[in-house]
Symmetry: C2
Subunit: 344 residues, 2 copies
């Protein structure tokens, strides 16, 4: 039994006394204790050493007071598990020296034995669960197939992922083969995370907003739905298709338990598009955490009122930024936690 | 009298036999003749030499057959006219060594005599008009105040313009001072472009989609509306707030003649949000120009049908990409021009 299960109750559609709250990238670069570990250990050491990953995952629980932990890891472990090399230069983002361009490249990807290949994530999850000692639930995660394809084809970050789109638009059959291979591996991986102790999972489609509504329905949505269907019998699923506000009506019919949204859509319109029953998660602009704390608290309160207290998880609309003062992150969390008091 | 005035007739709200068509960045890097000039002359020489700017502006009229010319220039001439240094490294994007951070920086900006400071653009417009010889109308343009603020505060391109947003959110009074100064100068500049011969103007808010609907209504929209009001008595105005689909209902009440949209919104929904009377412009995904030509033509036809032939300007949803084959650009334009034949 979890001591704080407000996130799980919300995901089950129960009425709660206030919205649960966590922050994307809450375990990371704005926390001084994280920066100390970052100075000592390189990126892959941090995510591949269960003791380090668990310690980093726990930091925001103790220091910021969020209602859930999210395992410290990276979405690019899937391309690695499929056999691609992923380099990570600090401050420069990921680099995949060998990208996917043709059928041979796709056939060469080996999606077998993901539990073994990514056993370090599963160990980190088990260890974190132990150290959490039932305080809050633990979120597992993976990148969405479209977003993973973006990196596998483009080889690095991009403003608009034109090469990935070109690959999909001009070779749709190959694109679907690749997306299906990523999807199958991701489903195995997320199920293994749940078996290792993750209480729920989130799927990050960080670049889905680069696609038009029609192309989202072709290259992103079917694979998100497959993952939601496969995982929902074992754990609640949150889908976060950043920038794809237009998909809210369709995704709200899926077996996902919640949909994450970014700040480019008004909460009231999002609620209208998603219907009253789907749980929504978001959507504070991460830059707004820099507001003076009284103003920050006021805007958090307004956000909750705009979404409505029910069927809502307070979060940012994207990851927290490196230069956010810890007390501002804490003020965000506290403003949500105090909301029930404000109401009465 | 223009020989081809279909764009102007559409902007006046008249029924036309087919939609007019042009492409953002149509004068540029996908054209071999442009690349020859680029190899010979650096960026500022190209935009500051009226003969070169005019020659580049004319290339797509002759080679691709668009219904309008758009003067070859850059939105960052406004920061330059205000007194900031702008460096342009080929392939690297703009760099402003001295950025705007405080009140002194803003007070030091000198928005006077923009006609004199940017006389080279006005000369390029006059020369282009002469050489166009009334074949098609000439579009003048400027960056929107929010987008110009982004570069002036951030100093370079960015994935999310967090520093610019931080400046606006934490020092809103200063932000409005800066936005007003940019707006005043931009209005002078666009009026001078019309006097020099521009038949209409487009305002590019390339980064407005980084703002939430509420913040767009505070930091972007009021200045777009000021520009539309000031210019509409002398020339039709097209507003292009990229990514800000949510602003369609409000902007449709403005004195602008058309609103440009990108591909992240379905044409039918855009039409519903804008109402039947506002002219819409867009929104082909530039990557789709790489489709095989028969498929490309099919998707252009579908786009026109989704927008409806009336009150519509066919265009891309953003600038054309460097690696688009010229015959694909031409196929896009021809597919629109032949639409009237397809209809009958």
């Amino acid at each position: 039994m979890l001591k704080n299960d407000i996130l799980l109750r919300t995901l089950r559609g129960e009425e709660t006394e206030r919205p649960p709250v966590w922050m994307m990238r809450q375990a990371g670069r704005y926390l001084p204790d994280y920066m100390k570990l970052k100075a000592q250990y390189d990126f892959f050491t941090r995510i591949q050493t269960p003791e380090l990953a668990a310690a980093i995952t726990l930091q925001p629980i103790d220091q910021v007071g969020v209602d859930a932990a999210i395992i410290f890891s990276d979405i690019l472990v899937i391309p690695q598990a499929l056999g691609l090399e992923v380099l990570m230069e600090e401050g420069k983002g990921p680099l995949l020296p060998k990208t996917i361009q043709n059928k041979n490249d796709i056939d060469a990807l080996d999606g077998q034995n993901v539990e073994e290949k990514l056993s370090y994530v599963l160990s980190a999850i088990s260890l974190t669960k132990e150290e959490l000692n039932s305080r809050v639930p633990l979120i597992g995660f993976a990148g969405a197939p479209w977003t993973i394809l973006c990196y596998m084809v483009e080889g690095k970050g991009s403003k608009s992922f034109d090469k990935a789109k070109q690959f999909c638009f001009t070779q749709p059959e190959l694109a679907h083969q690749l997306l299906q291979k990523i999807t199958d591996t991701t489903i195995d991986y997320l199920k293994a995370q749940v078996k290792a102790g993750a209480d729920l999972v989130q799927v990050f489609d960080s670049w889905s907003g680069m696609l038009s509504p029609v192309d989202f329905s072709i290259f992103a949505q079917p694979y998100l739905l497959q993952i939601a269907s496969a995982l929902s019998p074992v754990a609640p699923v949150i889908l976060f298709p950043k920038g794809s506000w237009y998909a809210l009506p369709e995704l709200s019919k899926s077996s996902a338990s919640a949909i994450g949204i970014d700040w480019a859509i008004d909460p009231q319109l999002a609620r209208k598009m998603a219907g009253t029953n789907m749980v929504l998660q978001g959507n504070f602009d991460p830059v707004k955490l820099l507001l003076p704390i009284p103003e920050l608290r006021k805007q958090v309160k307004k956000m909750i009122e705009d979404f409505g207290v029910s069927n809502y998880i307070a979060n940012l609309g994207h990851g927290i930024l490196p230069h956010i003062p810890v007390d501002h992150a804490r003020a965000f969390v506290e403003a949500v936690k105090e909301y029930e008091l404000v109401r009465s």
